[in-house]
Amino acid sequence: MSNQTVQRYDLIQRIYHWANLGALLVLLWTGLTIYDLNIFGTRPFSSFVTTLVGENFMPLIFGLHIYAAFALLGGLIMHIIYDTGIKGIFWSEIPSKADFKAQNILAKNFLGISKEYVKFPKFNIGQKMLHIGFAIVIVLIGATGFMMSANYRFLVPIWWLPLSFDFISFWARYIHDMLTFVLITMVVMHVYFGVRRENAPTFKSMFSGTVPKEYQEKHFSSSDEPELIPAPDEEG
C-alpha cells in the first residue's frame, strides 16, 4: 500500500470551511437566544444566557450575532474572490447535464432498480446543489438580517419601494427565521453525509487537505465528467 496522497483542499479553503462552522455556531446560538426558542414552555437559550451574564444580555448577544454575521459574509466574499478569482474555479462547481444523468443512475442504485454506479469528479451533483443552496440561503438570511438592523439597514437599499416599514420588518424577520430553519436542515444533511464511514477520507481531508491516492482513484472520476461503473457480473 502506497502512502501517496492527492490534495483535495488547500489551506485557505480549509480555514474558510472551519471559520464558517464557527461563525454559524455562534449565529445559531445567539440567534436562538434572540428568537427566544420556546420548547413546551421552557426557554432554554434565554435562561442559559441569563444565568451567564444576567438579565441584560441582549446587547452582548446582538453584538455577537452581528460580528459572527460579518465573519460569515466577509468569509463568503473572500471565498468567492479566492476560488473564482485566484484559483479560477467556477464552472466545475455548477451542475452539468452529465451530472444530472449521473445522479439518476445514483438514485436508481439507491432505490435498488439498477446496479450501475457512478464515480463523480471532486463533487457530485447533490454537493454542488447544496453549495448553491447554501450561497442563496446565506445571502438572503444576511440581507434580511441587515434589513432588521437600524445600523445596517442602509446595506439593503429598498427604501424606494412603496412598502410600509412594518411590512418590511415583518417579512424580513419572517424570511430570516424561516430560512434559518432551511439552513439548519442543509447543515444537518451536510454533516450526515460528511461523517458517514465511506466518506471518512474526504472528511479527514478537510483537516489535512489530502486524501490517499488509492482512495481518490477508486472513488472519483479521473476527468471533469462523471464516470459510469457498470453493474458487476452475477458471478462476480
Binding site: W171, F181, M189, Y192
Partner: protein, 53 residues
C-alpha cells in the same frame, strides 16, 4: 401599487405571538432529519456496489 396591496394583505401584526414560525420551522427540520434517516436505513439494507475493478 401592487406591492402596497400585498403589504396590506400579508402584514399581520402579532402573528409572532402564535409562534407559527415554530411550527413550519420544526416541519422543515424534521423533514431533513427524516430524509437522512431514510437514507441511513436504506444504505444499511442495500450498501452501494463494491468497486472491485
Amino acid at each position: 401599487m401592487i406591492l402596497q396591496a400585498l403589504s396590506n394583505v400579508f402584514y399581520t401584526p402579532n402573528v409572532w405571538q402564535n409562534r407559527f414560525v415554530d411550527e413550519i420551522g420544526l416541519l422543515i427540520v424534521t423533514t431533513g432529519i427524516i430524509a437522512v434517516t431514510v437514507h441511513f436505513i436504506v444504505r444499511h439494507i442495500r450498501p452501494p456496489i463494491k468497486e472491485s475493478h
